[in-house]
């Protein structure tokens, strides 16, 4: 399995979570564009932790309990997939908000 396959499988596994994360990230970016503030930047990350925890809980409640085995059969563990999805989500938020702060001084 290539690195590209791994990335595509991780994105497929975490699709629902990443979609909710992306909406949150865009809302944060929009607010930050209208009012540049370092405090708001920090608040975004604190609230993001809570939103991620709730999303994780909801997604795991509604996901087919056997859906994970396609990935496990390929040597990917639930823990690794979950961590990769959370990291990708937080990284996207960090990149978006940092670029807003950099471009608006």
């Amino acid at each position: 399995m290539t690195l590209l396959d791994r990335i595509s499988l991780t994105l497929r596994y975490g699709r629902a979570q990443l979609l909710i994360g992306a909406v949150y990230n865009l809302v944060c970016m929009n607010y930050l564009l209208s009012e540049i503030s370092y405090t708001f930047f920090v608040d975004c990350f604190i609230i993001k932790v809570v939103v991620t925890a709730i999303t994780l809980y909801l997604v795991s409640r509604f996901r087919d309990r056997d859906a994970i085995f396609f990935y496990i059969n390929l040597g990917l563990s639930r823990r690794k997939l979950q961590i990769s999805v959370i990291l990708a989500d937080f990284l996207a938020l960090a990149i978006l908000l940092t670029s807003v702060l950099v471009f608006h001084g």
């Binding site: 087919d64 396609f70 059969n73 040597g75 563990s77 639930r78």
Partner: protein, 213 residues
């Protein structure tokens, strides 16, 4: 696989779950509904958090983070993610799609089909082939005969026998006749424990079958 303990709140499902498989053999696991067969497999594969489970191959504990490299598992419900095309799933598992079509020609038109376009029986057959031909020394099949056409059941049994020549296979199903005709040895789960089955009377004793006459 040994010492499996599964509890859901106050309810204890398994207290002494145990099963073993050898290369060249098909091991059948029987048990009534809710006995814990699927729980045991899901625990083994890391899909269910359990109180205790020990999994080893050749007496060496295996890294459960990468268990899929040693054991491929066919779960009870849909394996291939919704929306994934059939040929993509075969590519990821390193299984040749056209060899599969040689065996089951009706799948030639499904090369580019997402899994949801297949009927339940077709999807089951494709997933069973995919798991059984994935690169691993052991396979676990949870209800492989479910939804499969009666005309294909003999093909499935033949495929399991073929793959068992150089792999170890554990299989569970409610189709007792199919299991007993394909398995070399049988286990039954009753009252939270796994018991080896030597004769039909053992199954009666453990409440899996009714006494005849």
């Amino acid at each position: 696989m040994d010492s499996v303990v599964v509890r859901f709140g106050e309810k204890t499902v398994l207290t002494g779950g145990y099963i073993t498989s050898e290369t060249g053999m098909v091991t059948g696991l029987l048990g009534r509904n809710g006995a814990g067969k699927s729980c045991m497999f899901r625990a083994l594969m890391g899909g269910l958090r359990v109180e205790n489970v020990v999994v080893s191959i050749d007496e060496q504990p295996i890294n459960r983070q990468i268990i899929g490299r040693s054991i491929k598992y066919l779960p009870q419900s849909r394996l291939i993610p919704e929306g994934m095309k059939l040929h993509r799933a075969f590519d990821l598992y390193g299984v040749n799609y056209w060899t599969f079509v040689n065996r089951f020609p009706k799948f030639s038109r499904h090369y580019d089909s997402p899994i949801y376009e297949l009927s339940g029986g077709e999807a089951r057959l494709a997933e069973l082939y995919l798991v059984l031909h994935g690169d691993a020394p052991f396979y676990i099949l949870d209800e492989p005969f479910t939804q499969v056409d009666p005309v294909n059941i003999e093909d499935v049994k033949a495929m399991i026998r073929e793959r068992a020549k150089d792999h170890g296979i554990i299989i569970t199903d409610h189709n007792y006749d199919a299991i007993s005709s394909v398995a070399d040895n049988l286990f039954v789960i009753a009252d939270g424990y796994t018991n080896q089955v030597h004769c039909r009377e053992d199954l009666v004793r453990h409440g899996y079958l009714r006494a005849e006459g």
